[in-house]
């Protein structure tokens, strides 16, 4: 079965602190993984993607994610968050037939 689990519906972080958003996936083949971000009242934008190679991938705005095959995880990280990072973050798996399998999202709240 193909699935994506984001175990944290909400994460609250102080501005300037580091961040990790968790993502676990289930997929029998080689996973293509993405993180998308949705800012308030906006569509979704790609943050970063992983296909193969270096398990740490860099994205926009200082975000990075680390792929772990042994843990079936693709956690998103940022060293120092800014108030403008407040958004909902989705972990996504590209499954069969070009269909994307979405996690339920993690709402990131930045405390001043």
């Amino acid at each position: 079965a193909q699935s994506v689990t984001q175990p944290d519906a909400r994460v609250t972080v102080s501005e300037g602190a580091s961040l990790q958003l968790r993502c676990k996936y289930s997929y029998s083949g080689t996973p293509y993984l993405f993180w998308y971000v949705q800012y308030p009242r906006q569509g979704l934008q790609l943050l970063l993607k992983y296909y193969s190679g270096d398990p740490v991938v860099q994205g926009v705005n200082g975000f990075e994610a680390e792929f772990s095959k042994s843990n079936s995880s693709f956690h998103l990280r940022k060293a120092s968050v800014h108030w403008s990072d407040s958004a909902v973050y989705f972990c996504v798996l590209s499954g069969s037939n070009y269909q994307l399998i979405w996690g339920s999202g993690t709402k990131l709240i930045i405390k001043p």
């Binding site: 569509g43 993607k49 070009y98 269909q99 994307l100 339920s104």
Partner: protein
């Protein structure tokens, strides 16, 4: 400027009315999608289109149909809208398959009363 455009952005319809949601993209992408987003559920795929007149059901196609007569245009139709179809609908497109970036429109907030 690469863009997916959805019209209208906001729509209120009465139960039983027909609803047409329009989507256009200016990138000549082959693949287009319709999703709905409900609180706590992420995005659910309604239909995927691989090209003109080549459409497939997604995870929740019941109560919806689609039309793609031109590559740049993909419509979502609700025949006799129901209150449980109140949601935010997103259209998206990608060049040839979803292993590349998917581009999203800003969404249509549909309320069925």
């Amino acid at each position: 400027d690469m863009k997916v455009t959805q019209m209208p952005r906001y729509l209120i319809k009465r139960m039983g009315e027909n609803v047409l949601l329009e989507c256009g993209q200016d990138m000549s992408h082959e693949t287009m999608y319709w999703y709905r987003q409900d609180p706590g559920l992420g995005l659910q795929l309604i239909y995927i289109s691989y090209d003109v007149d080549s459409n497939s059901e997604g995870d929740i196609p019941k109560g919806y149909r689609v039309s793609r007569k031109k590559r740049e245009h993909f419509s979502l139709i609700l025949d006799s809208a129901k209150t449980n179809q109140t949601s935010v609908y997103f259209c998206a497109s990608s060049p040839d398959n979803a292993n590349t970036e998917v581009f999203f429109g800003k969404g249509t907030r549909l309320t069925v009363v």
